[in-house]
Amino acid sequence: MKRRPLAALAAVLLCLLAVSAGRAEAGFLVVKNAKNATAKLNKDAVKGVFSGKTKTWADGETIILVIGSEDSPAMQWLADSIFGVSAKTLLSKIKQDVFKGDVPHPLSANDDAGTLKRVLSGAGVVGLVSDSAGKALPAGVVVIAVE
């Protein structure tokens, strides 16, 4: 059989692009308690919220994060897509700020159900859920549009 290296290379590249596109689509949404009036944030503001740089919402309510463990998909998405660092680095930074007393202790959840339950628990709570969970949010939880 005659080898066609260029065709094979093109096929491999197409496969890689398809996989890459699939990953980009498997995103997460920023969700908050419905009592919080914030409707939208730009990417830098999201970074400010999850880095602890921004400590309160516009209405003065203290921001409480819901975060997962190092290997949770939401944490990896947050670290990679928003901060451009590893989940390990981001979690370590959050822990350090908590230990310093600069930010409140985050709430812990490693899946959508846990995150939604935590977000419902307080007006200042914010977390991340998958796109699929975002299609059927319980009453009391709404999406913050990220511009």
Partner: protein, 353 residues
Amino acid sequence: MRPWLSIALSAGALALGGAARADVTLNFFGDINYAVQHETTATTNTFQAAELDIFASQTEGKFSFIGEIIVEALGQNEFSSDIDRLEVAYKPTPWLRFKAGRIRSALGYYGDAYQNGKYFMTPVTWPGMYEGDGLDGILPSHAIGIHGDVAYPLGGDHGKLTLDVEVLNGRGQGLDEVTVWQDANNSKAVNLRLRYVGDGGLAGLIVGGNLYLDDIPEDVVEGEAIEDAHPAIHELMLAGHAAYVTDRVHAVAEVAWFRHRAHGSEMTSRTVATFGELGYSFGDLTPYARFEYTHFFEDDVYFMASGIPNQDVQLASAGVKYAASASVSVKVEGAADLSTPHRHVLAQAAFAF
């Protein structure tokens, strides 16, 4: 009270809080070391599992609480427990905060950047001016009193100016005494820290300075060896710090200058302590180097009475930190004092769960 009993009671109190309030979480910090040390003629090696830090925090609206119990064997083979932080904070606005209790003084960069979490530090050890090998450092980094800090944003991405003001019990009769119950004199220490905190293109940059004034109580006990005693002393400390810490770069430099003057005397003793350290992360690996220098211009009776050797320090160290996970780091470091025969190699597993 026996240390372990008091630890159990204290941890129990924190855990009870955890049971009653689902959002109170206990965290644990600590480190396990292997140390090889060489002095003039002898070389020793030892494993060390000498510190466990139990940390709890809670936020309710504008109020927050931190409780931190540390169980350690600092310089000895016997554990003792200590409440390292016990603070209540009130933050009425995003730019103003008040704290009261036992706190980490707002001193320099290291003073309140890492607290007791060696996991977060790049090097294995504290700079000697904060904590030495089995000894407290010469900086008054633990304090009891009140703290206020205010931030003034410079607009846009230009960062902010921050001012910390503290009124504290101040130093005890020795470096290792923290006046948690009774200040040994009625004078209060005052600590001011002014700093610039960068943002935008300067995010990660912190530059600032401290002014610290205190009146150290005398320590004269009949029958006690003269080298363990000292008169009442006026203390002035001026300090400066600069840090540039990002996800990759770790650069910190600090200097502190002390002047001690005994009451009723014009005789002064001056000391300067400084260090600089530099690291750069390649993925999970961060090689680093540090140089520390301490010089005693004159004999300082307070430091000497507290066990600080009256000899200059020129300690050069280098090592590497490996961030194994978001909870565990492993470090190896070698160091040599250029003015004494002291050499050491330290290996450390530090954790933050």
